[in-house]
């Protein structure tokens, strides 16, 4: 396959950035998208040029590190797939592919296609945790969990925090990510002690980080590589309203 790549190049956060065009011959259709970038970088290094910086880690669709915005879609055109699991057979010989970083005020570009997603870490630190006793591990199944709730919590826990929801959203809202984390813990008995403070603190931190407001457009749900549904956003809204209206402590 012959592929023309238009890739966003940006030296650092201050650099305005620009697109550079690369021609790649002999692209194997069984390559993953990231492997094609490995081939491109190998070529650039041999030519004495700066390779393209991009995030990647597990390359098996579970870590959430890869973060390319491919032809106008986060993680590319395939539904429910991360960039690392996108293969070149889904493109045609002679295609031009435009690759950009996630674009959001809360995700500043560090270099080329690498963005700073530490805003998600700070949101997690604000409330995405539970309190547990130290000591020996408790026996499994000591605390009964209703099957439906366990399934729903598991579906929410599938979120890998890649940020595709923010990248896809017209408003750069992080509500799908935040709501998945809130819902996951609110559904389980282990998440009950901090249930109300969690939702208030995580939403407050989300707003502080400069993400936009959710307007229920639904593009996040459509582009999420783990297919997290936006019903979790409504669940988080419900948790937020309950926490706002009924504080645990008298004021």
């Amino acid at each position: 396959m012959h592929i023309t790549l238009k890739v966003w190049r940006q030296k650092n956060q201050q650099d305005p950035g620009h697109f550079e065009t690369y021609q790649l011959d002999n692209v194997n259709e069984d390559m993953s998208f990231l492997e094609m970038f490995d081939v491109l970088n190998d070529k650039l290094i041999r030519e004495g040029k700066d390779p393209v910086a991009f995030d990647h880690d597990c390359r098996e669709g579970i870590c959430g590190m890869c973060s390319m915005y491919i032809n106008g879609r986060p993680h590319g055109p395939l539904k429910g797939t991360t960039t690392c699991q996108l293969h070149m057979r889904h493109f045609k010989d002679g295609d031009t592919i435009v690759v950009e970083p996630w674009r959001a005020a809360a995700f500043p570009v560090i270099k080329d296609l690498v963005v700073d997603r530490s805003a998600f870490d700070r949101i997690m630190q604000a409330g995405g945790f539970i309190s547990v006793n130290t000591g020996s591990a408790p026996d499994a199944n000591t605390i009964p969990v209703e099957k439906d709730k366990a399934d729903a919590a598991f579906a929410a826990a599938a979120c890998i925090g890649c940020g595709a929801c923010v990248a896809a959203c017209k408003n750069s809202s992080a509500m799908l990510f935040v709501s998945a984390k809130i819902a996951q813990l609110a559904l389980l008995p282990q998440g009950q002690p901090e249930r109300k403070t969690r939702v208030l603190n995580m939403i407050a931190q989300m707003q502080k980080e400069g993400f936009g407001s959710c307007s229920n457009i639904g593009s996040c749900e459509a582009e999420c590589p783990k297919e997290i549904p936006i019903t979790f956003i409504a669940k988080a809204n419900s948790e937020y309203l309950k926490a706002m209206l009924a504080a645990d402590l008298p004021e």
């Binding site: 238009k6 966003w8 950035g17 697109f19 915005y69 032809n71 106008g72 879609r73 055109p77 435009v98 950009e100 674009r103 959001a104 005020a105 809360a106 896809a168 017209k170 408003n171 750069s172 809202s173 400069g210 993400f211 936009g212 407001s213 307007s215 229920n216 457009i217 639904g218 593009s219 459509a222 582009e223 936006i230 019903t231 979790f232 956003i233 409504a234 669940k235 809204n237 419900s238 948790e239 937020y240 309203l241 309950k242």
Partner: protein, 206 residues
């Protein structure tokens, strides 16, 4: 947005029900009687005030959210594939809202303002049915109204179900029902409103 939106939806139900009286084709007698009650009842005047407050709040909230969200992506994408993942009307609520606002100004200038003026100056209301016939005798006005109602339809198509999501409705059982009601409402109400200028223009109702 959700609260004021649902409040305005309730108003639409009242408005379309009253206006639908013209479909009785009784020379506007029933319509004028109901319109007279609405125009002279003191309680309705209070509700009217609440309606204006709700409308202004909805506009201001929408503008604040649009203004804030538009700053959240300072560098735009070169290729934006949103049409593959969402409906255009869900992404265009600000634009649709602005079109509805322009339509509302025209609509109020056609009916509400002259009627109130006439009431204050002459102590009695206009014959609103005759006013409707006169206003909708111009094809340009009919087209403006149809444009406004198409905008309203798409605005409701997203807004109705979105309001319920904002209030936290996440039940897998009820969300499809709410979505269905929302789509039906977004079609039926604007179609009923649209039939009024069309039928009056073509003198099917007279």
């Amino acid at each position: 947005m959700g609260f004021t939106g649902l409040f305005l939806i309730l108003f639409l139900i009242v408005h379309v029900t009253i206006n639908a009286c013209i479909f009785l084709n009784d020379h506007g007698q029933t319509f004028n009687a109901v319109a007279h009650f609405m125009g002279t009842n003191i309680l309705v005047h209070f509700l009217e005030l609440g309606l204006f407050v709700g409308l202004i709040l909805h506009i201001v909230q929408g503008w604040i959210i649009w203004s804030s969200n538009s700053k959240k992506r300072p560098v735009k994408y070169a290729v934006w594939g949103a049409k593959a993942n969402s409906h255009w009307y869900s992404r265009s609520m600000g634009l649709l809202g602005t079109l509805i606002f322009i339509f509302l100004v025209i609509h109020l200038a056609n009916f509400w303002a002259p009627n109130r003026y006439h009431y204050v100056v002459h102590g009695e209301e206009l014959n609103l049915f005759e006013r409707m016939k006169a206003v909708f005798s111009h094809p340009g006005v009919v087209l403006i109204y149809l444009g406004g109602l198409v905008s309203l339809s798409y605005h409701l198509m997203h807004g109705f179900q979105s309001a319920f999501r904002t209030f936290g409705m996440n039940s897998r059982r009820y969300i499809p029902i709410v979505k269905g009601i929302g789509v039906a409402f977004a079609i039926i109400v604007p179609v009923l409103f649209a039939l009024m200028p069309i039928l009056l223009y073509f003198k099917v109702i007279s």
